[in-house]
Each structure stands twice: as C-alpha cells, then as structure tokens.
C-alpha cells in the first residue's frame, strides 16, 4: 500500500514537470505542423536574417536532398522486387525444386551486387559525366569510343571500378545503389526460364558474367551516354534510343538471355514427349506466385517513378499513374483472352498479364498519356499470352514461368511503343536533343527508327553473347543437372536440404 502511494506521488510530480512546466519556459508546441520550419531554420550569419546567398545554398541543398532521398527510397522498393521474383518463379515450379529455385533467386542478389561493384558499374556509367539531379556526380568521366562514318561511337565506360576513392561521392553511391538493383532484375530473369534443371554452380558463373559484362555494355549504350543514346545527336534520329526505366536495358536484355539459356539447356524431362506432344507442368503454389506478382507491381513504382533520379521532377506523378494503368490493362486483357479461349482465366496468365503491362510501360511511362498507357498495357496482355503459346507449342522451348514472353517480347514492345505513342510533353533535352520526345503518331518517325535500332541491337548483341557463353560453358563444365537428380528433385542433390520437409525432422541423439 505504502509503495503505491509513493508511485502515485511520483507520477503526479512527473506530470507536473512534463505537461505544465514547459508551457512557461519554451515556445508553444505545433501540433498542426504549420509553424515548423521557418526562416530561423536557414543557417545564417545573422540569425533570422539570411542573405540571398544563404537562402540559395539551403534551397540547392534541399533540392539535391529530395532527389537523393527519392532515388534511394525508390531503389529500396526495387530491391524488394527480388522477393517478388523469387516467389513468382518458385510458385510456378514444382515442390521438389523449391530450395533450388529460391536459392538461385536469393544468391543472384549477392552475385550481381558484387559483380556490378567490381566492374559492371564502371563499364556502364564510367563515362556518363555529371548527373545534375544527384549533385553533379564527379569522377565518372572516362569513355572508350571509336570513330565511324565521321562520328564518335561511345562504347564503354572505364572509371569507378570497385567504387574507388575517385568516385567516393554521395551522388555516385546513390546512383550505384539504384542502378545495381536494376541490374539484379535482369540477372534474375533467366533463373525463371532455366528453372528446375540448372546446375547451381553453373548459375553462379552466369551471374558474374551478366552483371559484370553483358548488362553493363548494353546499359552503357542507352543510359551511360553510349552510341544508342547518341543516335539523335549524331544521326538526327529523334532523341536517340530512349528507354525511360528499362524495357530494353533491363527487361529485353533479361528476356533475351533467358531465351538463349532455355535453348541451350533444353526442356525439362517430360515437357515434350517424342511424338511431339506438349505436356503441362503446373506450378505447385499459385498463391505464392500471385503474392510475388503483387510485390513486383509494388516495387515497380520505384522502378519507373524512381528513374527520374529526382523527387523534384514532378513528372513522377504521371509516371507512377501510367505504370499502374498499363499493369491493370495487361492483367485484364490477358484474363479475357484466356476466358474466351479456354473458359477459365488461369491465374498464372493473369499474373503474367500484369507483369507484361508493367514491362511494356517501363520505357514509355514518362512520355505518354493515360490512354496510350492503357493501349500499351492492353496490347502487352495479348502479346504475352500469344507468346507463351507460340514459344511452348510451336518453338518447343521450355520456359516454366513465361520469362521470355513477359520480359523479352514485352520489353521489345515497350521500347517500340515509345517510338509510336510519345506525345512530346516531356523529355526536353533528353540525350542532348532539344524539344519533347515525340513518337511516330506525333510526327517523329526518326524516334521510332531509333527505338527499332536499339531493339534489334539488343536482341542480336545479347543473344549472340549469351548463347555463346552458355554453349561454351555447357561444353566445358555442363550447365545442366543429371537426369536422376532432375527427376528426383533438385533440393537435396543440388542444395543439400529439402525446401519443404513434412517429416518431423531427423531423430536427435
């Protein structure tokens, strides 16, 4: 009892001190927030009376702060897409391979990151120069180029290896984080098309190859100031090859690599029988795949809207909304397609449809209006379903999750659609060309030509490199697991543990 009285007394004194006392000695609290952040918060030689220079310094610092903050948060969203990919791919494959499929999707994050840190970033952005939105990003100023037809063809950057001290800068590090998670999206696409039969050690070597060399080279040509970006300045083709957030740089590269890999590694045992019959191999966990698809769609807001690299570029409102509309159109149209053809919607195709819309709108999201976004997404919904059927039934290429149809076919459609639908309302000065980016339907056929050249270059270059890589690797070391392991399931033979273990565990002694 006595203890309780003392507690009550202490509480009373505490309340007195905290609630009542400060009102006499400090400024009033500001629950609405309207009075927080005033001229007194501007650092000035004379408090409360900053000079124009002092105000300007704060304004400039705030602008870059908003941009860096935005780019980082968007990058964090894109990083989480790795979880989405892991769930989509694992859900669409069989229960006996879950530890293996998850394992690839997990480790590609680490492999890609380190590969990009070693050389990928330097090859891709080593010659990009200053990125004003991130405060100037000094040090990225070495580009290898050749002279052709009297023009300069910029081919690969070479500064910033290992993020060394010459680029030890907040802007460069921010750019690295954001671009690294993009590269990882590409790197994880072939784990879907080659799932359930890829030797894990072979996959690791692949991860370094694509993150250190293939992705950065094509990326340099489009985003690093390379020759495809210069098609406008050098040859008068619109603004050069324009890809806002990576329909070609990220998705088409990944989709083409996925195609090359699926061809070299061959179909899963039992997928195509000798008499030419095509067999279905249903995924084991549709809810997992659908949740993964939602995670991807969520991360995509970072992917597309973040690609301004600037929270102060208010076009992000248009970008994010276009992204949303195209994804809905893709899912809806793919579903209707399936309903008309087979009477049932097929959740795996609904998911592929949503992703197809997202992949397609990734390049044009900043340059088109909402109806064009709807059309681009809707066509993506048709393309993805038709492509899945064609690749499976006609080409007999086994792609368990539809990676080639989603990322390859719709990556190409995305960059081409920009060349058709860009309405000229955004992109003044893009790739050094004045005026907004306009597509064929708005009077600039040159822009469409640039998109076409970029698309064909990507397909030819990436396919040649990746097909050659997989072929050589297969000859030297083998990239496919042996048939007994494949039939039994890869979890124990390749990974050493079952993904799903329904026993009560090993006996403890």
């Amino acid at each position: 009892m006595k203890g309780n009285n003392i507690t009550a007394l202490l509480l009373f004194i505490f309340l007195l001190l905290v609630v009542i006392a400060p009102s006499n000695s400090f400024a009033d609290p500001d629950p609405s927030g309207a009075n927080t952040g005033t001229i007194n918060d501007v650092p000035a030689a004379t408090a409360g009376q900053p000079t124009v220079e002092e105000v300007g310094a704060v304004a400039g610092h705030n602008k870059i702060s908003i941009n860096i903050m935005w780019t980082l948060v968007a990058g964090f969203l894109v990083m989480f897409m790795q979880a989405g990919f892991a769930m989509v791919e694992t859900g669409f494959t069989r229960a006996k391979n879950v530890a293996h499929t998850m394992g690839m999707n997990f480790l590609v994050y680490a492999i890609g990151m380190i590969g990009f840190w070693i050389s990928g970033f330097a090859f891709m952005f080593g010659g990009v120069g200053a990125i004003g939105a991130l405060g100037g990003t000094p040090g990225l100023n070495s580009m290898f180029s050749i002279e052709l037809f009297g023009k300069t063809f910029e081919l690969v950057g070479y500064s910033g290896f290992f993020l060394n001290n010459a680029v030890y800068d907040v802007g460069v590090f921010t750019l690295f984080l954001f671009q690294m998670v993009f590269m990882d999206t590409t790197a994880t696409i072939p784990t879907g098309s080659m799932a359930e039969r890829w030797k894990f050690t072979a996959f690791i070597i692949y991860g370094f190859f694509i993150s250190m060399i293939v992705y950065p080279l094509f990326g340099n040509w489009v985003w690093g100031g390379g020759w495809l970006a210069d098609l406008g300045v050098n040859f008068g083709l619109g603004h050069g090859h324009v890809d806002f957030a990576g329909s070609s740089v990220v998705h088409l590269v990944g989709g083409v690599a996925a195609l090359a890999g699926a061809i070299v590694i061959g179909p899963r045992i039992g997928k195509y029988t000798r008499d030419g019959k095509v067999n279905a191999i249903p995924g084991h966990n549709i809810p997992m795949a659908m949740v993964g698809t939602f995670i991807l769609a969520f991360g995509w807001f970072g992917f597309n809207a973040g690609s301004t690299l600037a929270g102060t570029d208010l076009r992000i409102g248009v970008v994010a909304t276009n992204t949303m509309i195209a994804s809905g159109a893709g899912a809806l149209v793919a579903t209707i397609f399936m309903l008309i053809k087979f009477k049932k919607p097929d959740p795996s195709m609904m998911a592929n449809g949503l992703l197809a819309g997202l992949v397609a709108i990734t390049a044009p999201c900043a340059f088109v209006n909402s109806w064009a976004s709807f059309v681009i997404g809707a066509i993506a919904g048709v393309l993805v379903v038709a492509a899945v059927f064609f690749i499976d039934h006609k080409l007999h290429i086994d792609d368990p999750v539809g990676a080639v149809a989603v990322h390859g076919v719709n990556g190409a459609w995305g960059v081409l659609s920009l060349g058709l639908f860009a309405d000229g309302s955004y992109g003044d000065g893009w790739n050094g060309v004045a005026g907004g980016v306009k597509g064929l339907f708005y009077g600039d056929g040159g822009q469409f030509a640039a998109q076409l050249i970029g698309t064909l270059t990507c397909i030819i270059f990436v396919f040649a490199l990746m097909y050659g890589f997989f072929k050589i690797q297969h000859k030297l070391f083998g990239i496919r697991v042996n048939a007994e392991d494949e039939v039994e399931g890869l979890d124990t033979p390749e990974m050493g543990v079952l993904g799903y273990d329904y026993s009560s565990g090993p006996e403890q002694k």
Binding site: I281, D346, D392
Partner: protein, 112 residues
C-alpha cells in the same frame, strides 16, 4: 466385428462425422488420400496446354463396429455423403478378426 472404409468428398466429412457420433459410434479415423475411379480424373488447361488431373483429393474414413451395428452405420454414411453426382466415392466393408485396446489389453468388442 466389421471395418467400414469409405472414400468420400472432403467437404462431406463434417456431416458424416456429426451423424455418426450422434448415432453413438465412438471412434473414427480420417486420412487425406488421392485417387481416381471409373472417370479416370478430369482434364484441365494450364498455360494453354491440356493436362489430366488423375488423382482427385478425397478423404478416407475408417470405422470399426459390431456386426449388428454395421448396417446402420452404412446407411448413415451413404445418406450424409451422397450428392448424386459423379465422384461421391465408395464404401468397402471388411470382417475384423480382433481389436485390442493397447492401454488395458482388453480385446474384442469391448475394446471398441
């Protein structure tokens, strides 16, 4: 003694169990099984390719009772698990040689 083994639709379990326990049958064993009968499963389409679902999920219930109560138990199971559609399942009846309660060692019908 008789053992009644019935393959039924999974969603019918509650109804069957309620009716059996109301009628005073003390024990029931249930297992999740998959199988097919005369229809040999059914066809579905995944990503545009037709495939056969050979083994349809079912429940197997097992019940042991005295010979004279077996007929009534069968009636209850049939009445509660029947929908009249293909796939209602089947019932098998076996003779049981003996039953033993492990805890006490009782045997025969008193062990049920």
């Amino acid at each position: 003694m008789k053992k009644i083994e019935a393959i039924i639709r999974p969603h019918k379990l509650d109804e069957v169990q309620d009716a059996l326990s109301e009628a005073g049958y003390p024990g029931l064993t249930v297992s999740e099984v998959r199988g097919y009968g005369r229809q040999k499963g059914h066809k579905e389409i995944y990503r545009g390719t037709e495939y056969n679902i050979n083994f349809v999920p079912k429940l197997k219930i097992e019940l042991i009772c005295s010979d004279e109560r077996a007929e009534a138990a069968l009636e209850i199971i049939i009445k509660t698990s029947k929908t009249g559609e293909v796939g209602d399942g089947k019932i098998f009846v076996y003779n049981v040689a003996d039953a033993i309660r492990i805890r006490t060692g009782e045997s025969g019908e008193s062990a049920l």
